[in-house]
């Protein structure tokens, strides 16, 4: 068992941890990125691949701005990864459409986006409510049930597996150590500063520590005095055979990948730690997709899978720094693709600076420490 020393040890090599580790490596930090193994619940490998802003941040305008900033930074991230490892994550930002299948749904979209525009204030919030004719201009494949929709220019999509692969290859190219099979059992502060993790691959010491372990973050964060109440939310995806390009904009439930597959998704369910795919969920996803785009009926489904989003009670990320264990951070969110650019270019800087900026204080974990009313 060798003991290695780093500027920063990042626990969790999914999209959050890998993005932060990549940013740290770019900043010249000596980084160890610890991954568990394939038996873990890997939300990052089950992703739909949207870089999505529309509708996010109701009740938390900072989250709307944060998501939007990441969709802007994504261009730089895609360029940086292409340059560092030669693999482009295929980021496209044509804007995104939420499709309404009834006047009620359209009214809900309108109200939600009007509220977000109001909350954005001087930052503005560009969107367009699409009537029945306009939504068909953008998406000619819409079926007769489509009542309208909403468009925002900030939305896009990427290939999440290429993103994952690109982050790993690029951080290694920049000198970071990627350690697989390194399940972390124990975190201990070191006398004189820094922290040491005891992993199945030995002891690894770092001046700082980032816990970005998805569903594993709850137990690990408790070791540095932070209560991180993440829980699994089940999502499911259906993939069709590849076709020529016909869907010009990603939508919340259906998108066409750069390689031609159609991804159908959008389900949300609470089933604990059950990541399997369920037939009933597949049916619901397929039915909604068919009502939206009837031409999908001619396509075969070639794969389907379930995955577990790393959800917080209010749906917003947690970015926090331990008070009891100096140098230890916890980062977690359910939008690892959307926020990847922020995590690479911004969150990594917080670790280097050893402080989370004041404007991000609303994402601290203690927002959940509210006594329940009787």
């Amino acid at each position: 068992m060798c003991r290695r020393e780093y500027d920063v040890v990042v626990i969790g090599a999914g999209l959050v941890g890998a993005a932060v580790a990549y940013g740290l490596a770019r900043a010249g930090q000596r980084v160890a990125l610890l991954d568990e193994d394939d038996a873990t619940y890997r939300a990052s490998r089950g992703n739909f691949g949207l870089v999505w802003v529309q509708g996010k941040g109701v009740g938390r305008p900072e989250y709307a701005l944060w998501s939007r900033a990441s969709s802007e930074r994504w261009f730089a991230l895609a360029d940086a990864l292409s340059e560092d490892c030669g693999l482009s994550p295929s980021y496209l930002r044509p804007g995104g459409v939420s499709v309404a299948l009834s006047e009620d749904e359209l009214g809900d979209l309108d109200a939600k986006l009007a509220g977000l525009r109001h909350a954005a204030g001087t930052a503005a919030y560009d969107y367009e409510i699409l009537d029945s004719a306009r939504v068909r201009e953008l998406l000619p494949a819409c079926g007769p049930e489509v009542a309208g929709g909403a468009y925002t220019p900030y939305d896009g999509h990427a290939n999440p597996l290429k993103l994952m692969c690109g982050l790993h290859a690029s951080l290694v190219a920049r000198g970071a150590d990627y350690v697989t099979g390194a399940r972390v059992e124990d975190i201990r502060p070191l006398p004189g500063g820094g922290l040491e993790v005891h992993s199945r691959r030995g002891r690894i010491a770092g001046g700082k520590l980032v816990i970005a372990a998805g569903h594993g973050s709850k137990a690990l964060a408790a070791q540095v005095g932070l209560d991180v109440p993440v829980y699994p939310e089940h999502g499911q995806i259906l993939v069709t055979e590849r076709t020529g390009s016909w869907l010009g904009f990603p939508t919340l439930g259906v998108r066409q990948t750069d390689e031609g597959s159609l991804l159908l998704g959008g389900s949300q369910a609470e089933r604990g730690f059950d990541a399997s795919a369920h037939a009933r969920t597949s049916r619901d996803i397929a039915l909604r997709a068919l009502r939206t785009f009837p031409c999908l009926g001619s396509l075969r489904i070639v794969r389907t899978w379930g995955a577990l989003r790393v959800m917080t009670p209010d749906g917003f990320p947690i970015y926090d720094r331990s008070r009891t264990h100096p140098g230890a951070f916890v980062f977690t969110c359910h939008s690892g693709v959307t926020l990847a650019a922020n995590h690479a270019f911004e969150a990594s800087r917080w670790v280097v600076d050893d402080r989370i900026p004041e404007e991000m204080a609303c994402f601290a974990a203690d927002r959940f420490d509210v006594p329940q009313a009787a």
């Binding site: 494949a141 055979e241 590849r242 076709t243 020529g244 031409c295 999908l296 396509l299």
Partner: protein, 97 residues
């Protein structure tokens, strides 16, 4: 390259790219094409590279062909029938309106 085991079962005529081909009863389309020395079943939607069967058990989707006008069929998962019309899957299929 591929040689048949002795098989008393009957011959089944089918059509590949407009040419008459022969299969044995029980052949998958993939087996029948391979036995007829066809190696390129499709070209990929992304780069146009030529591809042929790899797994032969329905997983890899490398053996896609058009069967009786239906695109993107897995040749390894479909049994040959007499008179079947099979073509290469060239690039991405088109989605009908």
């Amino acid at each position: 390259m591929f040689r048949r085991l002795p098989d008393p079962a009957g011959r089944i005529p089918f059509d590949f790219e407009g040419e008459p081909f022969e299969a044995r009863a029980g052949d998958s389309v993939a087996a029948a094409l391979l036995a007829n020395r066809v190696l390129t079943f499709r070209t990929t939607p992304v780069s146009g590279a030529p591809r042929g069967p790899w797994c032969l058990i329905g997983n890899c989707h490398e053996c896609l062909v058009e069967i009786d006008g239906e695109p993107n069929r897995q040749a390894c998962m479909v049994e040959v029938r007499a008179g079947m019309r099979v073509r290469r899957q060239r690039g991405a299929r088109v989605v009908p309106d």
